[in-house]
Structure formats: C-alpha cells, structure tokens
Amino acid sequence: MDISVSVKQLTKKYKLYEDKWGPIKEVVTKKKLHKEFLALHDVSIDFPKGEAIGVLGKNGSGKSTLLKIITGIADPSSGTVDVNGTLVFLDVSSGIDPELSGYENIFMKGVLLGYSREQMLEKVDEIIEFSELGEFISQPVKNYSSGMRAKLGFAISVNVDPDILIVDEALAVGDSMFREKCMNKMNEFKEQGKTIIFVSHDKNAVENFCSKAAWINQGELIAFGDSKQIGSIYNEFMSGRKKLDEIKSSLEFIHSIENVSPEAGESGLSIGLEGYLYSSAPDFKGSYELVVKDTRTGEAIAKPLALSSYKGDSSLPDEKKDTSGFRISIDEQDFSGFLKPGKYSFLVRYKEEHKEGEFPLWAGNLDLNITEDMKSRYINKIKVENNTLALLVENVDKVQEQVNKIWFEEGTLNLEGVCFVRGYEVGSPEDAGVTLHVVNLESFKEEMYPVELRETDEITENPSFNPQGKNYNFAGFRAGISLDHLRPGRYEYRMTYQMKNKPGHELLIPVWASKRQEYPSEPFLWKDREIDIQTSTKYLRMTVK
C-alpha cells in the first residue's frame, strides 16, 4: 500500500495566556503563566494513495489543525509529517485576494502553488469555464457572493492538477448543481489514483464519498478505518447513544461479517456466517462466543466462536490473518423454541479474566443478495440494519386478538377475549387450537395453559371485521391461570394459534390487551403473593412479588 501522507505521533500544543502581558511576564519571571491546550495529541495516520479519506470530528475537535499541519500552514509541537507529492488545500477563501479580479486571482493562486505564468495560461480557460463565473471573472473578487468565491476557489484548486487534494468543508457553499460538479470532479480525481483528504463533520458526506475515514475527538484519534464503520460509531457518539469509553472499548475489536448463507429446511432455519474478528490489543487472551439476541426481550443463545485462518481479501494486517477468520453456523434445531416472531441481532461476547462484554458484529460491508424470504415455521428475513445484521422472524399470517376482560377469582386469573385469523373459518371448537404461554422475562421459562374456544357472534356479526360474511363463531376464548404456581418475577403473555384445517399454520403472538378499564387496576393479593397486571404497553404483562 502506497502512502501519500503519513503523520506520526503528531502533537500540537497551544499556549493560552490570561493577560496580554503573559508572554513577557513569563520570560521575565520564568514562571509558567500559560495553560496548555492540546489541539492534537499523539495522532498517527497513514493516508493511503489513491483513496478518498474522510476526517470526521465535531467543531473544535482538532481536525482543521491536523490539516494545517499536513499542509504546512502550522508547525507541529512534536511529531513528523511526510507528504509525497504536490498538495492543494481547498478552503473557501484560501489565497483569494478580494482586491484583485477573479482572473488575476487565478494567476495569483497559481503562483502561490508554484506554477509559472505560462503553465497557468494553459489552464486558465478551463478554470474559468469550470467556475461558471462568465464575465464576472474580470470583476474584483470583493464584489462576488460567497458562493461565487467558493466556485472560483474550487475551480482553481482542482484544475491545477495536484497529487493530493485537501478539502475543508468547502462544499457547504455553492448551489447543488455546482456541488455535484465538484463531486464528479473529485470522483474523477479518485479514478486517476489521486488522494483526497476530505474534512467534514457530516458523516453522510464522508460515508458517501470516502472509502476510509478517521475520527478525531478532542485532539485524539479515536479510530481510523472503513468509512462506514467509522461513520456509524461517530454517529452513535454524536447522537449521544454511546459514551466515548464504550466506543473505545468496542473499538478494541476489529470485526466484520463478510458472507451470510441462510438455509431453511425440514429441521428449521440454519444461518452460516463467515468473516473476521480480532482484538487490536496485543495481549488479548480471552475467548469469544457468538450470541443471537431477541432485541425486544433480550433472550439470547450463545455458541462458542472458534477462530481460524482468514482467507478473504480484506486489508487485514498480515500477522492477524492466521488467527482471525471465523465460520460458524447457527441451527434452529440446536435451540428449539428460541426463534419466535421478532427481531434478532448477532453479537460477539468476549470473556477475559477481568472483563467481558458484547458488541454487535459489523456488517456494513456485507453485500446481501438474498431476496427471497426463507420459510420454516415462520417467515424469516435477513437484513442489514445500521450496519449490523438483523434476522426478522414473522408469522405466516396475522392473528387478530383482544383481551376483553381480566378478573381474579380465588386462586385463578381469568382471561376472556377474542382471537381469530382473517379468512380462516372457525365453525366449531375443533377448527383451531389455542395455547397461552406465560413467559418469565428473566429465565425465559414458560408455562403453557390450554385455552377454551367459546362461541361468540362478536366477530361474525361485525361487518368491519367480517365483510365477506365468513364464519368466526368460535372466535371467543377463555383461559384460567392458577396462581398457586407463580413465582416472583416479571412475566409476558404469548399465545399460539394453531389452525387444525388447511392451511394449517401455527402462529405465535404476544397477547394484546388494550381495554384498560376492563382489567383490574389494583394488584391482587393471593396468599403471600402480590400480582400486578400491566398493560401500559398494550401488551399483557404481569409482575409477581
């Protein structure tokens, strides 16, 4: 990999004095009277040749200081900068003299960049054309609008043909047409094997345009790597979803899913994952597990993740290639009953002697070409969401369900309501089998209770539910839950609806209960237990103390 710009252990200190006599007093009294401000602290980045590299960071994070040091406008306090090739710094106003005309400025800037008058004469027509300034080119720049100035600045910078172009938020001005033109020009640059360093606080611009990115926060390089990966962690930080410490510790691990091969067969769903994973900490001696987690309830299964040699073409460091590949298969049959309608994420859990943690596997570079849904008992979809892999499990059909009434009676909790599937006729109680599950939300153990289907004309006679005039006479249900067995904990109610006739689907849903006034509002006391029905989320939950 050729390096176009290399900075090593760059540190930049600014001295801040409280009064203007400070520097003089300091020399005279030899006391330290200034505060030191570290604009950059020990930053080392190699900018590879022929790529667009983004530098992300909020205002005042030190990214402009870094640019100034690379371009030679500022000197570093310590560290080295190595630049291979000619370099142009594109800033909205850089090197533009407001007194001179646009035309003269072209030459002026050309001179500053080290070109002779003759060389600039060859380029001047192209520059004027690109700048779209037309006859304004002979007007003094002080009469230009800010957009026109930016156009002139950009036109000069890109047309002098530098090896390295450094762009500092310059595209914020100018109309969208011109911005697009600039983007095209910069893409052309990339194709010619030139290096572009693109500074922005906008992650979208960096993700769209750059292949790699560096994130600088308060003068420190937090991460350097794939632009999408960096963009997503930057976004997590900027939106306040994650703290810097959390991000830093998750950055210890470099990982990516590169291939997904799902399969749905007789024995259920099976998902094969391939990719790489390693710790950038030199002395990491922990073990890894692959974790599949239900994002709603937190229920999870884990499988040990063994690492072997990696054969993909990603730019991993050579010394890591032997021990960073993984290939694992998650089979539904090994974890029966775990996959239910819901959403699942794929994480890695690491365990070391003193610490352990979890992070979602990165899937931002994954090129998913799975268009068909996989059918097992449910419909399974695999997607990339927020640069991570997600498995969506959905019922084949939709159960309409409502709890009309809940009441306590001696040692029993009674539920009464309706449930049916549109289009599936239930003329007798033998047409469907319904089961109620009470699931402990910590241990995920469940108790099942049979549900009695009862005759009701509530659905059949309701034209908004039944416009086709089908027979849903046995849409009512009633169930009783014995309170004697309940142990303290939080519980969730689910329901299985099994069609006994064709098409014979089995559907699993969380129990919906939105008729609040029909449910007990006070906790019920039974023996030494206190049972509280909760429906604030519209789903039926229960706490037992």
């Binding site: 600014y14 001295k15 371009t71 030679g72 406008i73 500022a74 000197d75 370099l87 710094f89 800033d91 106003s93 850089s94 090197g95 003299d97 007194e99 001179l100 005309s101 003269e104 030459f107 002026m108 800037k109 001179v111 500053l112 960049l113 080290g114 002779s116 008058r117 003094p140």
Partner: protein, 262 residues
C-alpha cells in the same frame, strides 16, 4: 545560517510574480493606476524643495550641486529605503489571511514586499534621472547606482527578515517601527547636509541608510566611487551580514509562534 535567503533566491520567480501582483493590488480600482506611484513622491520632493529652498532659504547648493537635484536624488533613494522597510516589516502580519489558509513558502514574503518597493523605485529613478539629464551631464558614475541599489536591497532584506517576524508576533512592535522610521527620516541626512553635523557626523554615519543615500548622491552628482571610502563600505556590509544572520535566526525561532498566534 542563511537558509531563508537561499529559499528566496530559489523561488525568485515566485517572488517576482508576487511582487507584480502587489503592484496590481495596490492600484486595483484606480483609474490612473501606477501613475499614482510617481505622482506622490514627486509631490513630496516638490513640497520639501519649496519649504527648504523658498520657505526657509536653507537650500544652498551642496558641494557645487544644485539643491533641488541633491534633494531629489536623496529622496529617491530614501523612498526606496522607507517603503521597503515599512512594507517588509509587515510582510507576515499584512498577509496573514493568506498565510493562514494557503500552504506556500512564506519565508519569501519580506522579499516580495522589498521587490515591490524596488520596482516602483526603479520607475521613479528613471523619471528623475531623465529629468536630471537636462541639467547635469550624465557620466559613467551613474551606473554605480546599480551597486547602491544592490546594497539597499541587501540592507532591506536583512532588516525585513529581522523585523517581519517580530511585527507578526507583536502589534506594538509594528507601531514602534513606524516611530523609528520617522526618526530615521530626519536623522538621515536627506534634507540636510551631513557636513553640518560637525562632530556628530560619525554617529550619523553609523546609520546604514546613510551609506545608501550618500552613495546615490556620490554616483549621480559627485562622481565618487564606493571604493574611495573602503572602511565605511566594509562597515556597511558587516552590518548587512549581521542582520542576515539575525534575520535567519529570528525567522526560524519565531515562525512556529507567529503561525499560532496570528
């Protein structure tokens, strides 16, 4: 030890091009353009001549040369010294909007300002000499002006290199230099003859500007060569050498500081 001068020399084309831009910039927006570069000094020469010759009746011929010619030649060289010194000392501070966002060899900036003053000086010099040729016979000694122009350029380069970083760091120092220049204008024998200084003439002559101003008069009016006062010439060049070394040191030392604070 003389790195920055080496850089100025290596980038002489850039220095030249930028100094021409300076001229354009200076007169951008005016109708008469660089004619103003002539009108202003000529007016000032006329005013001083009127005040001293007519007003105070002090302007007697100096060593046989008419006062107006003596004054004009002295003023021409002084304008060069004055402008070059004033502009080069502000070379960094005045261009900070460019320094702050354009990467280029900023060490050449004092030289740019000096060359800009030099080019305007050449125009004025040619005009004055052309006028003078009517009243004084030109001689080969007129060519010696080239030497004194060179000496003046070198002196300015040294002074510019020393003062420009200081002015960049401290605005107060810039104000101080303005005062020094007014002082120097009156203390350099431009409007008055150094012979009148009597026993102070040694002190007056320590001022290296006097070497250049007097050299101009020697060349145009008195047909006297610089080799005729070798000690003074040696003194002058030693001063220039010291300024060069000091200037190089100043730039190296101050550059990181003024880049940060400007």
């Amino acid at each position: 030890m003389f790195d920055i001068y080496k850089e100025m020399w290596q980038r002489r084309k850039m220095v030249h091009a930028l100094s021409l831009h300076e001229i354009k910039r200076e007169y951008a927006g005016t109708v008469l353009g660089s004619i103003w570069g002539l009108v202003n000094p000529l007016m000032r020469i006329a005013v001083y001549w009127f005040v001293f010759q007519i007003g105070s009746r002090a302007g007697k011929p100096v060593d046989g040369a008419p006062y107006i010619a003596w004054l004009a030649i002295g003023m021409v060289s002084w304008f060069f010294m004055n402008d070059g010194f004033r502009l080069s000392s502000r070379a960094f501070r005045g261009k900070r909007h460019i320094i702050k966002n354009t990467p280029f060899p900023i060490a050449i900036l004092p030289a740019v300002q000096i060359m800009y003053s030099f080019y305007t000086h050449i125009i004025l010099l040619v005009v004055i000499l052309a006028v003078m040729a009517f009243s004084i016979d030109p001689s080969w000694f007129w060519l010696q002006v080239v030497y004194y122009d060179f000496a003046g350029l070198m002196l300015l380069l040294g002074l510019g290199a020393v003062t420009a970083p200081l002015v960049a760091i401290s605005k107060d120092f810039g104000r101080f230099l303005d005062t020094v220049l007014i002082f120097l204008f009156w203390m350099t024998p431009i409007l008055w003859n150094v012979d009148n200084a009597g026993r102070f003439d040694k002190i007056v002559k320590l001022n290296p500007f006097h070497y250049v101003v007097q050299g101009y008069r020697d060349s145009i009016l008195f047909k006297s060569g610089f080799w005729e006062h070798p000690v003074y010439t040696l003194y002058f060049w030693i001063v220039v050498l010291i300024l060069f070394a000091l200037g190089n040191y100043m730039y190296k030392r101050m550059k990181p500081i003024f880049l940060d604070i400007m």
